[in-house]
């Protein structure tokens, strides 16, 4: 029973951190791509969207090769800072962040693009600084669209399995998240534990999706009518 709650809290911790990282990364990259024109923008957009369509095992393999002890980057991290990401919950956070990133970045870009440029212009004419235009005009106008994406990303990060298993392994209490605990329980024939785990996962995901649909841009328009 305890193992179930340990897996749940670990999952929430991993998904929470992944979401925080994605809010920062997804919003900045989404804003950047919405507001700049440069050669290769579409290609960059495509590359950043890849994690959404690529099998998590492919991402897991990329990450394992990239941050593993045998790789240039991985060994640099280890020798310079003593950081080892494989088999750690931080490694699970990175896997979940990469997998869920497009779910924040895509809606964020769309939301920023739909913000009326005249409103920003008006603020600029009134002498408001660029940074406070972003936080007081642009972000509040785009916020709903972004938030729906953030919640979906949280749900996706919570359910992450393939990449996490490859990068972080399955160490009970350390890297064994809900979805991996389900897999292990089923493998070992522990149907009671598996039932408990899938029930919890389903409830959490339903709550997240309900919240996301309440925040989706379509609902706002509905209410205004």
């Amino acid at each position: 029973m305890d193992a179930v709650w340990i897996a749940l809290s670990l999952s929430l911790k991993v998904a929470g951190w992944a979401t925080v990282l994605n809010i920062v990364l997804g919003i900045s990259v989404g804003y950047f791509l919405a507001r700049t024109r440069f050669f290769g923008r579409d290609l960059l957009d495509t590359l950043l969207t890849l994690p959404m369509v690529m099998p998590p095992t492919v991402l897991g393999y990329y990450l394992l090769v990239l941050v593993g002890r045998r790789s240039a980057f991985g060994s640099w991290l280890y020798e310079s800072f003593g950081i080892n990401l494989i088999f750690t919950w931080q490694g699970a956070v990175i896997a979940a962040t990469v997998v869920a990133f497009p779910l924040v970045f895509k809606p964020a870009r769309a939301a920023f693009e739909s913000v009326d440029a005249e409103l920003e212009q008006a603020a600029r004419v009134l002498g408001v600084s660029e940074i406070s235009i972003f936080f007081r005009v642009t972000l509040p106008l785009a916020w709903r669209g972004i938030l729906a994406g953030v919640l979906l990303a949280f749900a996706r990060a919570l359910g992450e399995f393939g990449a996490t298993l490859m990068v972080a392994g399955s160490i009970p209490g350390k890297t064994q998240t809900l979805s991996i605990a389900v897999y292990e329980a089923v493998q070992a024939g522990k149907d009671d534990t598996a039932n408990m785990l899938v029930l919890i996962t389903s409830v959490v995901c339903v709550v997240v999706l309900l919240t996301a649909s309440r925040l989706a841009p379509g609902r706002v328009a509905e209410r205004r009518r």
């Binding site: 394992l64 399955s170 009970p172 089923v186």
Partner: protein, 251 residues
């Protein structure tokens, strides 16, 4: 146009059904440690009986058992231990008469090939230089169960708990050692032999039971003659030579 496409589809469907009257597919669920050997054996089997097709499914034995128990259409089951096969038998999933032991294996501890560690016995796993030890999940993977037993027998199971990295099957342990992500790991001698260029066998783990692999036709597979045919093929000299080539020994 659509009519013609439909007609073609029906023709194809009829053709495929009529072929399947003469040929058969046999689905074989085999322990992960058998991966390479069974791929070879399946090719030989298909070469000898071109009318049959072998579908192979590899995973930890416990996972395979759960798949069969939940109704996966499996005809032949080859497990890496007796315990998993016993469970299948008590759940009525097997054609008991067909059950046979077909190979033996040994448990070893390996390290990456360029490791500076020197390990002679399980007690040496306590060295502080050894930080991470890959061990397959004892709940569902036979090699994990054997490893756990060896550590329990030498009172090291609890001592080494902090170093353990659980894996889903023996090949994942092998891969982590080969990639140098763990300092050592428990695998079968046959797995170590496959990656001889990347991993080093440190010592053979003494066990008080024999690691023997049973194979059996499942209850579902009993309806097909090809299931027993495949087992007979695994037991023949040619296949035993293949298994021996991968380091398995005769039962």
């Amino acid at each position: 146009m659509l009519k013609m496409a439909l007609k073609n589809l029906v023709t194809v469907a009829v053709l495929t059904t009529s072929i399947s009257v003469f040929s058969a597919e046999v689905t074989v669920s085999a322990a992960a440690s058998l991966t390479n050997a069974f791929k070879d054996i399946a090719l030989n089997f298909e070469a000898e009986y071109p009318e049959h097709k072998v579908l192979l499914n590899f995973a930890g034995s416990g996972e395979l058992l759960q798949q069969i128990a939940k109704g996966a259409p499996v005809d032949v089951f080859a497990s890496a231990d007796q315990e998993t096969m016993d469970k299948a038998q008590t759940q009525g999933l097997l054609n008991e008469a067909s059950r046979k032991d077909f190979v033996r294996n040994t448990l070893v501890v390996i390290t990456p090939v360029d490791s500076t560690l020197e390990l002679k016995a399980v007690e040496d796993l306590q060295q502080t230089a050894l930080q991470r030890l890959a061990i397959s999940n004892p709940e569902s993977v036979p090699v994990g169960r054997y490893s756990k037993q060896a550590l329990l027998d030498s009172n090291l199971w609890a001592v080494l708990a902090d170093k353990m990295i659980n894996t889903q099957n023996v090949r994942q342990s092998l891969d982590y050692v080969a990639r140098d992500e763990v300092d050592a790991g428990f695998v079968y001698a046959t797995d170590a032999a496959i990656m001889a260029d990347k991993v080093k066998v440190q010592f053979t783990v003494p066990l008080n039971i024999v690691v023997s692999y049973p194979i059996a036709v499942t209850a579902e597979g009993s309806a097909k003659a090809v299931s027993q045919q495949f087992i007979d093929f695994v037991l023949n000299q040619q296949s035993q030579a293949v298994l021996k080539g991968y380091g398995f020994s005769q039962p």
